[in-house]
């Protein structure tokens, strides 16, 4: 643990850190472009030059390991002069097209210019080196060669992280440019990350380009629900509309990255198929209902079934996209308000789902592990057993929470199982199963609710509500609380309370609180602290 001085502050840091990292720990940002904590050190931008006592030349912070007794000056006259000079070099051939650049507002050239630069341009415009604009690199990414500062973060990402090596630097000197190797496309499943690592506006996302100025967007930290890995993300949104997901750093889950499929996953939440209001079946169609009306109808259906066929004739299937809290509330409702033990989890993924040994998991559900911890999933045949019971007339009323049974089991099977069953459906969107429902309760999608999911490695992570669900939809836990009150059960007032109750009754969660989970998640007792890859 070396102790050193940075800009007059004494600090003791872990061994092996570089000066940029150490400075960060005391809240000092050493300006930098090429350094990225997830990539190898390249040392090419020369922006992070700092003064170190007893070393005559300025040193680059990214390639200087801290040592005991080191005295670092990041803002001395010499250091600042050098930083300003580097910035000036970077800007001479830059097109200065911020007004039409997507990176504006999150561009390190802009940021540092305001801090260190702010001098007049010395280079006549016509003398600038001209390079390619709007160069198509692949399905996700577009390159503007003139904005590129050749920091090599993107090439290092493709060399070191995906090891797909699509990108290289071609030509020499100020004619250098990023390009694809012949015959290659930047189409690896993680290609969108190069846009995030690019410190300037050279690499932009085809999906996000020209859609919004970043300073108008709000950012909410959450978790990706595209698969069981649960990459940590930020949701960028405005007025109930999501514009993009970006990875949020979590060394134990996704480091700095996420996959392209996850990146596009936000679109799945804003389809036309969202259910706007509660619905109650009226013959062959649905009638719009109030929450109270639908809740009452659901309670009546349950009680009637219970009276006619007994409590075990009421069952529930919980999809593994439901949060821990939702799954807990529904299974508790069955157990305590109805007296049924028939709650089953369902974690269905397409058999041929793409996966790899990096982040993309074959299980396309965010909370399979959670359902296991709650005792709802064991061998995997639980939901199937309930359907069989329904086919044999033993299940007469069925709650379906966040699961499209038709996709999982096929139309024919569901027709046989649910044709005569009262179905109370809680979901975000219309799907094949909606047709079999008698009562439909619209609930919030992942970005619209608070709650937790447990990823494949057993790490409990939080979803955060970025904005309220559309129409009259309610957060799943609120919808379930409402059902509970209609069945004479307890109400729930907040997600923290629900989580608290969950920890009381599920051993794996003992000792946890919603607050403790924080933004980085917590491994469940017995689960390893890192992904099992």
């Amino acid at each position: 643990m070396p102790t050193l001085e940075i800009d007059g502050q004494e600090v003791t840091v872990e061994d092996g850190l570089n000066v940029i990292q150490a400075a960060e720990q005391v809240g000092i940002e050493v300006p930098h472009y090429c350094y990225h904590p997830g990539l190898s050190i390249s040392g090419n931008c020369r922006m992070c030059l700092v003064e170190i006592e007893n070393i005559p030349k300025l040193q680059i912070g990214c390639n200087t390991r801290v040592a005991d007794g080191m005295v670092v000056k990041t803002t001395s006259e010499r250091a600042k002069h050098a930083q300003a000079a580097v910035l000036e070099f970077l800007l001479i051939n830059h097109p200065i097209d911020c007004p039409i650049c997507d990176q504006a507002g999150e561009c390190k050239l802009q940021d540092y210019y305001m801090l260190y630069g702010a001098y007049k341009s010395e280079m006549q415009l016509e003398a600038k080196v001209q390079k390619g604009k709007v160069v198509d690199l692949g399905p996700e990414v577009v390159l503007d060669e003139e904005r590129c500062i050749l920091c090599a973060r993107c090439t290092r990402f493709c060399d070191e992280i995906t090891q797909t090596g699509e990108l290289g630097i071609f030509e020499r000197g100020d004619h250098s440019r990023i390009s694809l190797f012949p015959g290659k496309q930047l189409d690896n499943p993680y290609s969108g990350n190069v846009v995030d690592v690019c410190p300037v506006g050279a690499l932009t996302s085809k999906d996000f380009r020209f859609k919004a100025r970043v300073w108008y967007l709000e950012k909410t930290p959450s978790t990706c629900t595209r698969c069981a890995t649960g990459c940590n993300i930020d949701i960028y949104h405005r007025q109930g509309e999501i514009f993009r997901f970006r990875p949020r750093q979590n060394p134990d889950v996704n480091e700095y990255w996420m996959c392209d499929e996850g990146r596009h996953w936000y679109k799945s939440f804003q389809q036309d198929s969202r259910i706007p209001t509660p619905l109650v079946r009226d013959g062959s169609s649905f009638a719009v209902a109030s929450w109270d009306g639908a809740g009452t109808a659901a309670a009546q259906a349950v009680r009637r079934t219970q009276d006619e066929y007994g409590a075990e004739a009421v069952a529930a299937i919980v999809g593994a996209k439901a949060t821990n809290e939702e799954a807990f509330l529904l299974s508790r409702l069955l157990r305590e308000q109805i007296g049924s033990t028939q709650t089953a989890g369902l974690a269905w993924s397409p058999a041929d789902a793409f996966h790899d040994d990096f982040l993309i998991h074959a299980d396309k559900n965010p909370n399979t592990h959670g359902l296991k911890s709650l005792g709802l999933l064991n061998g995997g045949g639980e939901a199937e057993a309930i359907l069989s019971a329904a086919e044999q007339g033993q299940v007469k009323a069925l709650f379906v929470l966040g699961a499209d049974l038709v996709t999982a089991f096929g139309q024919e099977r569901i027709e046989r199982a649910l044709g005569e069953t009262r179905v109370i459906l809680l979901d975000t969107d219309y799907n094949g199963t909606t047709e079999y429902a008698d009562i439909v309760l619209p609930i919030a999608a992942a970005p619209e609710t608070d709650g937790t999911c447990t990823n494949q490695a057993g790490r409990v992570q939080r979803l955060s509500q970025a904005f309220p669900p559309p129409g009259e939809a309610k957060a799943g836990w609120e919808a379930l609380a409402l059902l509970s009150t209609h069945l004479d059960g307890p109400d729930s007032v907040s997600i923290t309370d629900v989580f608290g109750e969950l920890t009381q009754s599920v051993p794996a969660f003992t000792g946890l609180t919603y607050g403790k989970i924080g933004l980085q998640g917590v491994p469940l007792a017995g689960a390893g602290s890192s992904a099992d890859s």
Partner: protein, 430 residues
């Protein structure tokens, strides 16, 4: 001086042929080293000799060899830097083509000293003939058992590969060279780690210049005292001075280290062509400060040159007479660095191009008075802050031209172009 060491072909015709070389004490030093000395004894002799690197920086060779880690279980590599791309420099090429075996013998002894069993000769791509000479000489030497397995029956094995370069000045920078051998872009690496610790394929590596390695056999043969007696103690030995430009007899001269520059130009290269006056000398290739006529009494060795703010570099001496336009000369130099910057570091990538554009502007008569100070400021900002010293190699001569020939730059601004050119274009007064 007595017989040439490095340019021995001038004394012994066909010395590049193995039989001729062997007939003139060839590989005697190598045999002595391998059969009678321990590797560390060879290194000690080279250290004692004060042999300093001829690639430009003048680093003591024996000291560099001593930086190899003692406890590494990785193989050690020797890279012979034969990329010779420095403007005004053509000494290594002569050794490679005309005195090939003295280089190969130096490589053999050096590999033995540093315990390397594999050596690469990284030769500038354009030196097709030189590469052929090396291949031919190596084939002969392999045939005689001087390379390969169990050399001189000592159990010492050595393989030598000739690797033709990838066509850029930056391939001569030692870590760019290493990258290039590895099949990568010749982007110089950040240091530390230095090649002695983390070099070729991540293994301990020594990079030495051709002329440096060509000195090694003479040290083993004649002893370090002999070597130190040639020129100044602090950096002695035989040295090739290459003279080009406006002299009567351009060419190469093997002389002791520390020759007065004036003597080299006037006594050996025959003085300024057509009886003209000397205006400027670049004594060290193009990467170091220019000298004015009143500075040429300096002795050409590492320390004497440093004492006057100059460098020995490659001792490639470029002579310019009174009719030379210094703005144009500098424009050509900076065009070179602009063309050759690898483009990795922001100050170098952008700075070299910027300098060149400003100089073209001045030369074309479109320069502004402020440009001169701007050029100076750009140089200051480029220096000392990059991965390799190419940025300095561009900035140093540039600043020295501005300082020493400022009036010419100012005149280009006020006259709206080159006054010399304009004068030449004037019809002669009748």
């Amino acid at each position: 001086m007595a017989e040439n060491v490095l340019l021995r072909h001038e004394d012994v015709p066909d010395i590049h042929k193995l039989d001729v070389y062997l007939a003139h004490d060839g590989y005697v030093a190598a045999r002595k080293a391998l059969t009678t000395l321990k590797p560390e004894e060879v290194t000690a002799l080279v250290k004692e000799s004060n042999l300093r690197g001829r690639g430009g920086a003048g680093f003591p060779a024996g000291v560099k060899w001593g930086f190899l880690p003692k406890d590494s279980d990785k193989p050690v590599y020797l890279c012979c830097n034969a990329d010779e791309s420095e403007p005004g420099t053509f000494k290594d090429r002569a050794i490679i083509e005309k005195n090939t075996h003295i280089l190969l013998e130096g490589i053999l002894i050096t590999c033995y000293a540093i315990n390397a069993h594999m050596a690469y000769i990284y030769i500038r791509g354009e030196f097709a003939y030189g590469a052929k000479c090396l291949e031919r000489a190596l084939a002969e030497a392999y045939d005689q058992g001087l390379f390969g397995k169990d050399i001189f029956g000592t159990g010492f094995d050595l393989e030598v590969y000739v690797h033709r370069g990838a066509g850029a000045y930056i391939c001569g920078e030692e870590t760019g060279l290493i990258q290039s051998i590895e099949g990568k872009r010749a982007y110089p690496r950040i240091k530390p780690p230095f090649p002695a610790v983390y070099g070729l394929f991540g293994c301990p590596t020594i990079v030495n210049n051709v002329e440096t390695l060509a000195c090694v056999s003479s040290i083993i043969k004649n002893g370090p005292d002999w070597f130190r007696s040639i020129g100044p103690e602090s950096g002695p030995g035989p040295k090739i001075y290459g003279v080009s430009g406006h002299v009567e007899q351009p060419g190469m001269f093997e002389l002791p280290m520390g020759m007065p520059l004036r003597e080299v130009i006037y006594d050996y290269a025959g003085g300024i062509k057509d009886g003209k006056q000397l205006k400027a000398v670049m004594p060290a290739g193009s990467s170091f400060p220019v000298l004015t006529p009143d500075e040429i009494d300096v002795h050409m060795d590492f320390d004497s040159m440093r004492a006057i703010g100059a460098f020995l570099g490659t001792a490639g001496i470029i002579v310019m007479d009174e009719d030379t336009c210094m703005v144009r000369a500098l424009e050509i130099i900076d065009r070179f660095y602009h063309h050759e910057s690898c483009g990795q570091c922001s100050p170098c990538r952008e700075g070299t191009g910027w300098l060149h554009k400003l100089l073209v502007r001045l030369e074309e008569g479109n320069g502004k008075a402020e440009d001169i100070d701007l050029i100076d400021r750009i140089c200051t900002n480029m220096m000392g802050n990059t991965v390799c010293v190419l940025a300095d190699a561009a900035a140093m001569p540039t600043q020295s031209y501005l300082t020493k020939f400022r009036a010419e730059f100012v005149a280009h601004v006020t006259a709206g172009g080159c006054p010399l050119k304009k004068a030449a274009a004037q019809p002669e007064a009748a």
